[in-house]
C-alpha cells in the first residue's frame, strides 16, 4: 500500500462530529413547530370546562334540593335533570345522565345528597359519585 496522506485527520473528524451535532439540533427544531399544535389540539379536545360546568351546576342543584316525598316537587326535579340530558345531547353531542338523591341522615346536623354524573361525548367518558352535605 502506498503511503496514505493522513494529514488533517483531526479536522475531518471534527467536521464529522459538528455535522452530527447540527443534525440533532435540526431534529429538535423540527419537533418544536409541531408541539404547540398537538398540545393545543389535545386541550381543545378534552372537555375539561364542560365537566367542571356540569359538576358545579349539579352540585348547585343538590344544595337547593332538600329531602322530600312530594310527587309534584320530584316531578319538577326530574324535569330539570331531563333538561340537562336533552340539551347536552342536542348541543354538545354528549350523553349526560345525572341523578340527585337527597337522603336524611339521622343523628347528623346535615343531610346528604347523593349525586351521580355520567358524561360521555364519544371521546371522553367521565363518571362520578359524589356526596354533598346539605343543611337540614
Amino acid at each position: 500500500m502506498e503511503r496514505l496522506d493522513d494529514e488533517a485527520q483531526w479536522i475531518v473528524l471534527m467536521g464529522f462530529i459538528v455535522s452530527i451535532g447540527i443534525f440533532f439540533l435540526a431534529i429538535i427544531i423540527s419537533q418544536s413547530t409541531i408541539v404547540g399544535q398537538t398540545t393545543s389540539e389535545a386541550v381543545l379536545e378534552f372537555p375539561k370546562t364542560e365537566i367542571q360546568d356540569v359538576r358545579s351546576e349539579v352540585i348547585g342543584l343538590a344544595k337547593a334540593w332538600e329531602v322530600t316525598a312530594n310527587a309534584g316537587e320530584l316531578a319538577k326535579r326530574a324535569a330539570v335533570l331531563e333538561d340537562l340530558r336533552v340539551l347536552a345531547m342536542a348541543r354538545k353531542n354528549a350523553v349526560l345522565t345525572v341523578s340527585v338523591d337527597p337522603v336524611t341522615l339521622a343523628d347528623d346536623p346535615f343531610n346528604e345528597s347523593r349525586i351521580t354524573i355520567h358524561f360521555n361525548n364519544g371521546v371522553t367518558e367521565y363518571d362520578e359519585f359524589h356526596k354533598e352535605y346539605i343543611e337540614k
Partner: protein, 183 residues
C-alpha cells in the same frame, strides 16, 4: 489488483453522503405548512379565557347566593342583555391593567344564545340572548375562526324575572352558548 489509494477520502465521501441523505430525509419528512386557521393555539387560549369569564360571572358573591349570570338570564328579555354585555366585555374580556384597551387591539366579538327544552313537546329551542353587533360590535362574517363556550344556568320562576321569556315558567336548566371570535 484493486487500487487501494485514497481509502480515507472514500470513507469521508460515504459519511458525507449519508449526512446529506439523512438531512434531506429529515427536511422532507418533518416540514409542515401552518396556516392561521390550522394552528389551534389561539383558539385554545380564547376558549379558556371566555370559559373563565363565564365561570367568574356564574360564581355568587356570597355563599348560597345567586350569581350575576343567573340574574342576567332571569332578565333575558330586559336589562339582562345590556348587563351581560357589559359584564362580559368591559369587566372580564377587556379588563387590562390601566385604562381599557379598545379595538382593534382587543377586538373580541361574541354572540350569545340561550337553549332550552320545552317540556310539552320535548324539543330544544333557542333565543338570541345578546351579541356584540347589537352593542356597537361587528357581525360574524363566517371567516374568522370562532370558538364556542357553553355554561349551564339555572332558572327559578320564584325569583324576579322579566316578562316575555320564551321558555316554560318552571324550574329548569338552560344552556347558555357563547360564540366568540376576533374580528
Amino acid at each position: 489488483m484493486v487500487g487501494d489509494d485514497a481509502q480515507l477520502y472514500t470513507i469521508e465521501g460515504v459519511a458525507a453522503g449519508m449526512i446529506m441523505l439523512l438531512t434531506a430525509y429529515l427536511v422532507l419528512n418533518t416540514t409542515s405548512v401552518f396556516t392561521p386557521g390550522d394552528v389551534h393555539i389561539p383558539d385554545m387560549q380564547l376558549e379558556q379565557t371566555v370559559s373563565d369569564a363565564l365561570a367568574m360571572m356564574d360564581t355568587p358573591a356570597v355563599n348560597g347566593g345567586r350569581s350575576d349570570l343567573a340574574r342576567f338570564v332571569q332578565n333575558a328579555t330586559g336589562s339582562g342583555r345590556a348587563d351581560f354585555h357589559n359584564a362580559l366585555m368591559a369587566t372580564y374580556l377587556r379588563s387590562t391593567t390601566g385604562p381599557p384597551i379598545q379595538a382593534p387591539v382587543n377586538d373580541l366579538q361574541y354572540e350569545a344564545q340561550i337553549y332550552y327544552r320545552q317540556s310539552a313537546t320535548g324539543s330544544v329551542q333557542n333565543m338570541t340572548f345578546t351579541r356584540s353587533a347589537a352593542n356597537g360590535g361587528r357581525e360574524y362574517l363566517a371567516r374568522e375562526p370562532a370558538v364556542r363556550v357553553t355554561r349551564w344556568v339555572s332558572y327559578d320562576p320564584a325569583l324576579p324575572h322579566t316578562l316575555g321569556l320564551p321558555w316554560d315558567n318552571r324550574e329548569q336548566a338552560l344552556l347558555l352558548e357563547v360564540m366568540v371570535w376576533r374580528g
